[in-house]
Amino acid sequence: MAKPPFNPRPEGSSGYLRVGLLLASAVGVGLLLQLLLGSSGIGGEDFAAASPLLLKGLGLTIFITVTSVLLGAMAGAGLLAGLLQPWPPLKIAIRAFCIAFRGTPAIAQLYLIYYGAGEIHALLQEAHLWWFFRDPLNCVIFTFTLNSAAYQTRIIHGALVNLPREQTDAALSLGLPRLVALTRVLLPQALLTALRPLGNELTKVTKASSVASLVTVLDLLGTAKYLVGQSLDFGFYILAAMLYVLLVGAIRLVVDAIERHLTRHLSPAG
């Protein structure tokens, strides 16, 4: 008689709903406090002036995340193809790339690329690449594309090698060419198990991309930093934090819904 050792707790998306409700009440309490304490900033004209800026910052954060993860997925597909080749030097090089980008902080990668590009700008100018690297936003997207490519390669490769060996055997014994077996039999299954870590990758880049604010990019955190610097009102950081929590929560909801939709054939209850 396996009795659950702790109070069972309802699981699933209702948790997010409750977090959302809690957040909404937190926003309410925050606004009330601002009004009661009579402090400037969030409860007044400043807020009206700041909110379009913050929303613009939020938009830029979403843009950086989506662009980097999509470009990272394309680069990751190339890296994955390389990993599946039998030629060892290529495999070793790709492994080294993944270790380098997964083993270092995003801030170090961004500084290396952003300030490093400045150091060798004469060379880059000769190669006609300076127009790209002189813009900090491009450096941020470039950094997170490579970063995300390394993580996505690792996620999908991990899911692929963990598939039962029989799947490959069955596909090949049916006479499917290797490429068809990979793209029509193995990858769809691997992507299904990789869905959750890939969703986490999306929220991770959303959060990690806030280091863009350190190289003068006005993403959500950069905008909040600018507004705090202008008004000395710390409340903008709290507001930005709430927007980040809402954004990450929204991404989780969407990923959960996609996962439920794609795995609906796997469990009779789902």
Binding site: R18, G103, P105, I107, L214
Partner: protein
């Protein structure tokens, strides 16, 4: 070009080594904080009281959603303000200054705790309770059951997840450089800006981080194998 990395006067080798030590100290001091915080949050999520459950879940969810850099600002600036607001109420005079290291430790611990609670909750779900029932039947009290049955299992099964969190914490510690904590990333930044050798300094910093993460990954994997000796799976 490499002589700027020399140890001794005129070289940055000693500075970088000192920064590396601070980085390790930052991550290591955040670890106990995060483990205890994570355990507390996980058990609070199983509380009998609804408001404890809901606030623990909301707290962990919030700190999993806020970027670590912003959490650092919230702790560094907001924490300092809160303490300075509270000091007069406690009848104390003077101003409290948060050091970058303290803010960094608190932030990394907070983030580690928020994620560790998720790891612990996942493990708690897989425990079927038979060993707990057996221990209770033997007459063990609440605390011994927790100390000798639940915690060792939680730790052993949670170790892979906790290992990942440790690697994240090492990497996140680089963010603490922005609140003037003299760890590896800030020393590299200072070296890079004063010599102009950005690629060299950030390259060396990256190599140091790779060394820490690969070494701890290998050590933690070996530890997990050791803890799982004599077990068929898990």
């Amino acid at each position: 070009m490499l002589q700027v990395l020399q140890f001794g006067p005129g070289g940055w080798g000693g500075e970088l080594a000192a920064g590396l030590a601070v980085t390790l100290a930052l991550a290591a001091s955040a670890l106990p904080l995060g483990l205890i915080g994570g355990l507390a949050l996980a058990f609070a999520t199983h509380s009998r009281r609804a408001w404890v459950r809901e606030s623990a879940a909301a707290l962990a969810g919030a700190f999993r959603g806020i970027p670590e850099l912003l959490t650092l600002f919230l702790v560094f600036i907001g924490g300092q303000r809160l303490i300075n607001l509270a000091l007069p109420l406690l009848g104390l005079n003077g101003r409290f200054e948060f050091s970058g290291f303290l803010a960094g430790t608190l932030t990394l611990g907070l983030v580690f705790g928020a994620y560790a609670s998720e790891v612990f909750l996942g493990v708690l779900k897989t425990l079927d309770g038979s060993s707990i029932e057996a221990a209770r039947a033997l007459g063990l009290g609440r605390w011994p059951v927790l100390r000798f049955i639940i915690l060792p299992e939680l730790f052993r099964l949670g170790l892979p997840g906790l290992s990942n969190l440790w690697l994240s914490t090492v990497k996140q510690s680089a963010l603490v450089s922005v609140v003037a904590c003299d760890e590896l990333m800030r020393k590299s930044y200072l070296g890079a800006t004063s010599t102009g050798d950005h690629i060299l300094f950030y390259g060396v910093a990256c190599l140091c981080y790779i060394a820490i993460t690969t070494a701890s990954e290998a050590a933690l994997a070996a530890w997990h194998r050791r803890l799982s000796r004599g077990r068929s799976r898990g």
